[in-house]
């Protein structure tokens, strides 16, 4: 039997353990009446420092997608009147709240509060409002108006005010308080975790790249969901060691690296391994992607709440199209990439509208070709696999 084109990471076992523990913690917190659902860009260090458990519905959406039950769960939301035009993470979560027994892991544990931050999109607020209508848990929004250029003092003051309100909300809702030293401890751990994760990402500048984007899509779950915990940091240290070993021994994520590409946007969870696997056989690796690079940054040693306000306002998705184009051009240059694939996700207008323009500009500025493929991250009904394949083939014809 021929050798597989793709190398499996040994630290994935550790990752599974981490995610299992996170799930158990979520259930325990829910039973104690101390669980909040949080959006992926939420300043999670605050609830964590206040001993409020957190669960991430977007990550649950990724599980629904990977288990290929997206159409079923999204269909349940559609029965309730939520159109197929809406974000499939939202629809999958609405469907799973309605029919937990039909959902992977029997749905996410029930929350007592819904914490949304609109630094990734405006959809999260409407999604959580819909969930709130179903289960009665209150919604709290941290409003981080999108930034054009530098963050001005009135913006930071406004977001900071929102964070202070969040503390009051959590205190009232969960009967807990925020202690300065605990917040420092949690934010320090977060900074360190993000730092180690960033080293894993940057190691992919090496040739061959030690990680492919599907590896990073899996490995990112804890940095999104459970930064600020010691066991998360431990996992990333293990991953970094393995990545360093691969680099030292000249081992790539795929056996025979010929073409290095950039992936833009969320992946189609129900198809990502098949796509990556078949591209790996043709020598195609993705050393960088815009999605997993979105969780970077560090908390500075100033007032921690101000630092949180600044970091969460400045996330990649909260900035304009120019910033996204700069980011893509930077990654293509820094990781020495030959081309790029932009996944146009029908669910996600914030991430996807503008890709047609950025594709042209990124190609113009970097001189490398790119392709836009359309589909969805959870709802496979919205994806035409044959079309995706044709487009990828067209790109590879130019490069191989």
């Amino acid at each position: 039997m021929s050798e597989k084109a793709y190398r499996v990471l040994e630290s994935h076992n550790f990752l599974q353990g981490v995610m299992y523990r996170y799930m158990l913690e979520g259930h325990a917190a829910s039973e104690e009446g101390k669980l909040a659902w949080v959006t992926s860009g939420f300043p999670v260090e605050i609830p964590v420092a206040m001993d409020v458990g957190v669960s991430y519905p977007e990550q649950y959406g990724a599980i629904v997608g990977s288990e290929k039950v997206g159409p079923k769960l999204c269909g349940y939301a559609e029965e309730l009147g939520y159109s197929q035009e809406l974000c499939s993470y939202a629809r999958a979560s609405i469907g799973s709240v309605k029919y937990p027994e039909e959902s992977p892991l029997e749905g996410l544990p029930a929350p007592q509060a819904l914490l949304a931050c609109n630094n990734i999109c405006g959809t999260v607020l409407r999604w959580y409002d819909a969930i709130s209508q179903m289960i009665g848990a209150p919604v709290f929004l941290v409003d981080t108006p999108p930034l054009e250029g530098e963050q001005l003092p009135h913006h930071i003051a406004y977001v900071r005010h929102g964070l202070d309100n969040l503390v009051s909300f959590l205190s009232e809702q969960f009967g807990t308080t925020l202690k300065e030293d605990k917040l420092r401890e949690v934010t320090d751990l977060s900074t360190e975790t993000i730092g180690v994760w960033t080293q894993c990402l940057e190691a992919c500048k090496n040739k061959p790249s030690p990680l492919n984007c599907a590896d990073r899509f899996l490995a990112m779950a804890p940095v999104v969901a459970i930064r600020g915990r010691d066991y998360t940091l431990e996992y990333y240290q293990t991953l970094l060691n393995e990545v360093k070993d691969r680099v030292a021994n000249g081992l790539g994520a795929i056996r025979d690296e010929k073409v290095r590409l950039l992936w833009d946007n969320i992946p189609p969870w129900f198809r990502v391994f098949r796509i990556m696997g078949s591209l790996a056989k043709r020598g195609v690796v993705f050393p960088a992607d815009t999605y997993t690079h979105a969780w970077t940054g560090s908390f500075k040693d100033e007032d921690r709440m101000d630092s949180i306000a600044s970091m969460y306002s400045n996330v990649y998705l909260n900035k304009g199209l120019e910033a996204k184009i700069d980011k893509m051009c930077g990654l293509i240059k820094d990781y020495d990439l030959d081309g790029f694939v932009m996944f146009s996700v029908r669910s996600c207008k914030r991430y996807s509208l503008g890709q047609l323009v950025s594709k042209e500009l990124v190609s113009e500025r970097t001189g490398v070709p790119g392709v836009v493929i359309e589909g969805d991250m959870v709802d496979s009904r919205l994806q035409n696999d044959a079309q995706v394949e044709t487009r990828l083939d067209a790109l590879l014809e130019m490069l191989l």
Binding site: E85, C87, G122, H161, N165, L353
Partner: protein, 403 residues
């Protein structure tokens, strides 16, 4: 006046203004502070979806962009936007508009684009302070771009004009609820549209005789005071003490939805229903009730702060935090204003509308009001189906079908 005629008329008026050398600033979000723009000596002009323009967005926008922004972009590509010297886009209202401004800027770098970013949160005073600062920055950028400074006097005149217009239309809204035959809904919608296209004294002048006629007909029925009381109650959003006459014609229909154009919907309902001139008694549309019942900015104090309070004092939009409050108000409207049919409009691929629709329908059903969901796009490309849907809804209402 039909929707198409209204488009032609507003273009004509804008052209005359341009010929006179008046700088025009286009805007797309209903809660744009007209008074600030006017304080810079500029004319704010609402850019409407144009049903006659289609396609040609495909090189820049995917098909899942909302139908409104697709239409706007198509107008620009086809060079069919009314003449404007710049456009102000809102920030932080919905993902589609947020991205459209960026795309526009990259595709048409020669266009003057401004962005006014709104708070999405219901955060009281902090939101007011934040937005006041955004308004100040916006005002400074108008001065930088056009060299015309903010004038306090022009601001006061603008506040006065906008307020006189809103007062008059508020009165018509209240009159229609108490005596739907006094003024057709599409007439009110046409005035709202005309004023938003170019807030001119002439629109208020045209309104005056209509308001007088309506007042006369209300006086004959002894309803002037109750109309004024209802106007006040609507402004305060306190409807529990509203009392309506018992002989109101039915059906009484309310229309709810975000950025759907009131005149276009009125036209659609007119086309299918003989009872239409009295049927639509109320709307909760962005370009209708929600902007018309915006509280007046105070004339004392910092202009940007009073303007921020005014804009943020309007009824919350589906693009903002506060769904429970919106549902509560809808429930009040349905029960205290004796509504017996609700049309829920949603523009295709409009996340705010489409997300909210199931909750709106649930409220209607909870209070026993029949409802219909109407997916629309600005081109009304599916007109026959929409008319069929409205027709059968009206028939259900006439026959007292199940809620």
């Amino acid at each position: 006046m039909s929707n198409a005629q209204a488009t032609e008329q507003s273009e004509r008026i804008l052209k005359q203004l341009v010929d006179k050398g008046k700088p025009i600033l286009g805007y797309v979000y209903p809660h744009t502070p007209l008074e600030i723009i006017m304080a810079h000596g500029m004319m704010p002009a609402l850019l409407f979806a144009n049903p006659t323009v289609m396609g040609s967005y495909e090189a820049s926008l995917q098909t899942f962009a909302c139908s409104f922004i697709r239409n706007m972009f198509s107008q620009r590509v086809h060079d069919q936007l009314p003449y404007v010297d710049g456009i102000v886009f809102p920030g932080n209202t919905c993902d589609s508009l947020q991205n459209l401004a960026d795309i526009w800027h990259l595709r048409f770098p020669q266009d003057k684009i401004f962005r006014l970013t709104y708070p999405a949160g219901d955060q009281g005073e902090a939101a007011v302070q934040y937005f006041a600062e955004e308004l100040r920055i916006f005002s400074n950028s108008l001065q930088d771009a056009y060299g015309s400074p903010f004038s306090d006097d022009a601001f006061r005149l603008a506040v006065d004009l906008v307020q006189r217009f809103r007062n008059a239309v508020q009165f018509l809204y209240a009159a229609r609820l108490l005596q739907p035959s006094s003024v057709p809904y599409h007439r009110i919608a046409a005035f709202v549209r005309e004023f938003h296209s170019a807030p001119l004294e002439t629109v208020v002048d045209e309104l005056r005789p209509i308001v007088n006629d309506v007042e006369r007909s209300l006086a004959e029925a002894g309803r002037v005071d109750s109309t004024k009381a209802l106007q006040h109650a609507l402004l305060e959003r306190k409807l529990e003490d509203v009392s309506l006459p018992s002989d109101l014609p039915t059906p009484r229909i309310a229309i709810v939805g975000g950025m759907t154009e009131p005149q276009a919907i009125a036209e659609l309902v007119n086309a299918v229903s003989k009872v239409s001139s009295t049927a639509i008694v109320f709307d909760l549309l962005s370009f209708g009730f929600k902007t018309i019942f915006t509280p007046m900015p105070a004339l004392e104090g910092d202009s940007f702060e009073t303007m921020a309070r005014s804009v943020l004092g309007a009824l919350l939009e589906p693009t903002q935090e506060g769904l429970p409050k919106r549902l509560e108000f809808l429930k009040d409207v349905l029960t205290h204003l004796a509504i017996d049919g609700l049309i829920v409009c949603e523009q295709s691929f409009c996340d705010p509308d489409v997300f909210e629709a199931p909750s709106l329908l649930a409220v209607a059903s909870e209070v026993g009001v029949r409802s219909v969901r109407l997916p629309v796009d600005p081109e009304f490309s599916d007109r026959a189906r929409l008319e069929g849907r409205i027709q059968s809804f009206l028939e259900t209402l006439a026959h007292g079908g199940a809620a």
